[in-house]
């Protein structure tokens, strides 16, 4: 069989290859490189095998920050997704208030992460912050720097304030794309407000909700800047999430090996959990044989 070979074709692939190499492959391989070796500086490396991985998986520190992270993502998703849907449902569909609402909603998303942290850090202070002062005046002993519950409540509130808008905007886009005829048909069928939501709006929002869910999960699971600015991981280690822990280990203690191993485990977890979510959510409420027909 004569198959034409033209090795010049490789030239066309090179730019993409270079781009991916520089942006992804080389950095990741560097991390992989660190994760299986020990170094004492001076560019001297010793083979460590899976030692760092075993260390990471056996350490309480890792499991503690992981469970804090999971709890945080869980709470944040439980609040932001329903709240986002609810706000999107109450937003006007037409009229002069539409752009006003959209801009108001988009505002928190435009603020840089560390600024968000700073805003809330000041907002929650009892001496000069509005929230802290108000709570203090009401006789509530609120201090996010020393009380674990207060610290968590503030971080969650901050995240809800910062990111619910994203869910709202996605859901709003999904809602306005539902043709008017659906609502009219539901009206004629005598459907209640709840039925309209359950059987028309929610199914039509499925696509955007998957995206909202994944984005919010990944982002909250990788949260770093805001709690770092607000509490620095304290009081104690109570708000030390995985990324904060990772930075402490890598930059603070300069334990490059364990930190590299931990970041690889961390990344694998984000990818795996996101993949599971995506697969499960894409298949919710879909008949298998029908799904095939549709494809």
């Amino acid at each position: 069989m004569d198959k034409p070979y033209n090795n010049k074709a490789w030239l066309l692939v090179i730019p993409v290859f270079l781009l991916v190499a520089i942006s992804a492959i080389i950095p990741i391989m560097t991390v992989v490189n660190y994760s299986v070796q020990d170094t004492f500086g001076n560019n001297q490396f010793f083979w460590a095998g899976t030692e760092w991985f075993q260390d990471v998986l056996r350490s309480d520190r890792f499991w503690n920050s992981l469970s804090r992270n999971l709890l945080f993502s869980f709470i944040v998703l439980c609040i932001e997704i329903p709240l986002g849907i609810a706000i999107a449902l109450t937003m006007p569909r037409r009229g002069i208030w539409v752009p006003v609402c959209l801009v108001l909603m988009a505002l928190p998303l435009l603020i840089p992460w560390n600024v968000v942290g700073t805003i809330w850090q000041i907002f929650g202070r009892a001496d000069i912050g509005l929230l802290g002062y108000a709570l203090d005046q009401m006789g509530i002993n609120y201090n996010y720097a020393s009380n674990i519950f207060d610290a968590w409540a503030t971080i969650i509130l901050m995240d809800v304030w910062h990111w619910t808008s994203l869910v709202v905007l996605l859901c709003y886009a999904g809602l306005v794309s539902i043709p008017e005829a659906y609502y009219q048909a539901a009206k004629i069928d005598g459907a209640s407000r709840w039925s309209v939501f359950r059987y028309i709006q929610l199914p039509k929002l499925r696509g955007v909700l998957i995206i909202a869910f994944l984005l919010r999960f990944m982002d909250s699971f990788m949260i770093y800047t805001e709690p770092f600015v607000l509490t620095g991981g304290g009081p104690g280690n109570s708000t030390t999430f995985m990324s904060i822990d990772l930075v402490k280990q890598a930059v603070g203690q300069f334990d490059l090996g364990p930190a590299a191993a931990m970041s690889l485990v961390y990344q694998l977890m984000v990818i795996t959990i996101s993949y599971i979510f995506f697969t499960v959510m894409s298949n919710v409420g879909v008949d298998k044989p029908d799904a095939r027909v549709e494809d």
């Binding site: 043709p179 005829a181 659906y182 009219q184 048909a185 009206k187 004629i188 069928d189 005598g190 459907a191 209640s192 039925s195 059987y199 028309i200 199914p203 039509k204 409420g285 879909v286 008949d287 044989p289 029908d290 799904a291 027909v293 549709e294």
Partner: protein, 358 residues
């Protein structure tokens, strides 16, 4: 089932309509008989969907009343009027099965469970959806989805009327014909009052016993398909119905003679019409072409289009286009003359038909 009365009904989308032009739907008085099949026919933007939405209750008219069996329902909500509506795009509840879709309006009305099962089974039979009844509705084809939309209306035993808003728009051509036949069957079988909105004359004429032709917010004629064909009440009806549409020529009338330019055309009897803005209308079907001789109006032939069983001859009569419809294979003389069937000539004043007896 019910008769529907439109009593001096008019609608404007503006808050304070002043002139006639502000009305999307100009005043209309009509009575739709119980069990009839009606079509609302007109081009896009003529007000037919507005009228349909007023009947279904999705829109409250600015003026006038609408009555079902004599009972005023102008301000009732759609669900209180017991009407069903099928929309242009099939509306189905994605997450439900076909059966659940059909049961939905009954569940909302708190009908007993056994009755629901019975009605739904019956409906699945009528609509030929038996083999798909327990599948999710989202995977079905457009015509099957449209059947479900229709079924959700038919399943209710208390339906006063079923309204169709261009229901065949998104259906494949070969399924259109089947679904239309099905609708006709259902009408015969169940005897609901049906109102069908469309801009397709074939759909309207084949579906309805009576066609309501609308133009620019106004009902220009209500009649059987034959009446629309033979005596269009408005030049628009003549132009809109029939393919090609009616020939309309500006003319002057004195006694039994109509004059187009310098050509005199005989009428059957003296027309009562006089004055300005007169037009003569004749359908291409009633125009014959002969070799130029003593009789007939000499014309120039511009083009001949062969459309299968017929040929359309496009001629020019003193600057006015006149179409004639000839049988397939009929010879077209080189030097042609037109002959209008005098009994088929209609006279229009300001676009409205001047009746002969009047």
């Amino acid at each position: 089932m019910a008769s529907i009365t439109l009593d001096r009904l008019a609608h404007s989308y503006l808050p304070n309509p002043t002139s006639d032009a502000d009305f999307a739907l100009k005043e209309i008085n009509y009575n739709w008989e119980d069990g009839g099949a009606y079509a609302l026919l007109g081009p896009s933007g003529c007000g037919k969907t507005t009228l349909l939405n007023i009947i279904s209750g999705l829109l409250v008219p600015s003026k006038g009343h609408i009555k079902f069996d004599g009972k005023d329902v102008t301000h009732l909500q759609p669900e209180e009027r017991n009407i069903a509506q099928v929309f242009q795009f099939p509306v189905i509840y994605d997450t439900m099965t076909v059966r659940e879709n059909l049961a939905f309006p009954l569940i909302n009305r708190r009908v007993p469970r056994e009755t629901i099962t019975e009605r739904v089974n019956e409906m699945v039979e009528i609509l030929d959806l038996g083999d798909k009844a327990d599948r999710k509705a989202r995977g079905l084809t457009a015509d099957e989805k449209q059947k479900i939309s229709l079924g959700r209306g038919l399943v209710r035993y208390d339906v006063n009327a079923i309204l169709f808003d261009e229901p065949l728009t998104v259906i494949d051509p070969h399924m259109k014909w089947q679904l239309r036949t099905k609708l006709k069957d259902l009408h015969r079988q169940l005897g609901h009052t049906m109102i069908y909105v469309t801009h397709d004359q074939t759909e309207a004429l084949t579906f309805a016993d009576k066609v309501v032709v609308m133009y620019a917010g106004e009902v220009v004629q209500i009649g059987t398909p034959e009446e629309l064909f033979e005596e269009p009440a408005h030049t628009f009806v003549g132009y809109f119905i029939g393919s090609p549409g009616m020939n309309v020529l500006p003319c002057n009338i004195t006694g039994r003679t109509a004059t187009v330019g310098s050509t005199a055309i005989d009428l059957v009897q003296p027309s009562p019409a006089s004055g300005e803005n007169l037009e003569l209308g004749i359908r291409p079907e009633f125009v014959t072409l002969t070799a130029r001789g003593s009789e007939g109006i000499p014309v120039r032939i511009d083009a001949v289009e062969n459309i299968g069983r017929f040929q359309i001859v496009r001629t020019n009569l003193e600057g006015h286009p006149v179409n004639a419809l000839l049988q397939e294979g009929e010879e077209i003389p080189a030097d042609a003359a037109l002959r209008f069937d005098p009994a088929r000539i209609n006279i229009y004043k300001n676009s409205h038909l001047v009746r002969r007896g009047a």
